[in-house]
Symmetry: C2
Subunit: 237 residues, 2 copies
Amino acid sequence: MKVKEVSELTGVSIRTLHHYDDIGLLVPDQVTEAGYRLYSDENLADLQQVLFFRELGFSLKHIKELLSSPTFKRLEALELQRDMLVQKKSQLERMLATIDRTIQSEKGENIMTNEEKFKGFDFAKNPYEEEAKARWGKKAVEQTNSQFTKEIQEDMNRIYYKLADIRHLEADSIEAQEAIEEWFLLLNRIGSYSLDAFKGLGEMYVADERFTKNIDQFGEGLARFMRDAMNVYVDQQ
Amino acid sequence: MKVKEVSELTGVSIRTLHHYDDIGLLVPDQVTEAGYRLYSDENLADLQQVLFFRELGFSLKHIKELLSSPTFKRLEALELQRDMLVQKKSQLERMLATIDRTIQSEKGENIMTNEEKFKGFDFAKNPYEEEAKARWGKKAVEQTNSQFTKEIQEDMNRIYYKLADIRHLEADSIEAQEAIEEWFLLLNRIGSYSLDAFKGLGEMYVADERFTKNIDQFGEGLARFMRDAMNVYVDQQ
DNA sequence: TTTGACTCTAACGTAACGTTAGACTTTATA
DNA sequence: TATAAAGTCTAACGTTACGTTAGAGTCAAA
């Protein structure tokens, strides 16, 4: 299948297909002697993955890393994408609720605070903050001076630094597994993580750029290392 | 309210607020002697509009045009944005349906065509095509050689050129109103447009860039002209 | 008064394409 | 078979919407 046909089938521009080939994101399986790109069914399935991740806000660089990772599995990726699309739908519904209330407000039917007007716009929120809100309740998060919160934060930072220090080790090493157990126990001080949920969280560390960005502040590649170690930890229980 | 507070309230970065001020999209009501920006409640309500339109994929330039249009009314904009958010939610649901079917396909539970894999990805679709599908049914659209379809297309193009020729006239001129009546009648050969729906469609011509882009191919500013003429036509019935 | 947080302007950099141009290739028709 | 139109290529500049960095000025609390 050549570029025009792929473009019409998928809605992606020819220029974009060239671009994706140039950056190695989606390389056609064949190229004719004239230089024409020929895309296979496998290429189309990959393109679908790319488009889903793109729709979810992933950078092309990140998408490329995910797709080329040795541990990448299409079915798992689809399930992860599905979860994230459901979250995105929830956000959209929050925005709809906000706009409905704003319409009522414009009609004089209610009063809205400025804060309420921006519900649903979660652009810069730190996912830990969202996680923490869900776990601790809103009040605890706002009382950032509380002792319990401080202790948790300090413990989190301590374990991050520890893991960053040993990230050159194998994910199944004794040191790594001890630290990850600490992490698991810490998270279960906050809330209730099953082993499956813990494993899924590790995947999110790598798949969701906001997590990766935050974690890798402690050390390049730490999110990946933690994901791997978390996988080992769960598999050994 | 200064930039940091606005940023934390809304999730928009300080750099973005600077940028929006620079391009005249969101200009703070006050600036201190030191040069500090002070945003009012009115500014925040405008920002909400900006963010909704941005979420819907509007360029900042276009958002600025909409907000500064003499006919801009916040309540109408909110209702339009709501409609568009609902459409976006539908698209997301189509993507979810596609991903669910893809998951089943990966598990060997069904077979998917390449076309089915890209349902929900409507990036480049011409809105007329979507409109036409809804009006004529899918079969008629696919039979693009059918005589009826050809006649409609020809009539559409004829009226577009006619309107493009006279767009320097006033929207309430006799010529404009005659042409718009032709347009209304043509659309009602396709489907069933109430006057209200016709008026709403005119708004979409200007608010939705895909419409604007397609219509303005016949002449710069034609979408706006048609919107105005359609408003006049409806108000005079 | 000092210090740290806040804010400013300026400017370069980035990501992801869109657009334009010229040259080569393919396809359908006369 | 020739021709014209459609298709495809590479290259390169342009666009949009910020992010990042830098240096300087401002404000508020101790």
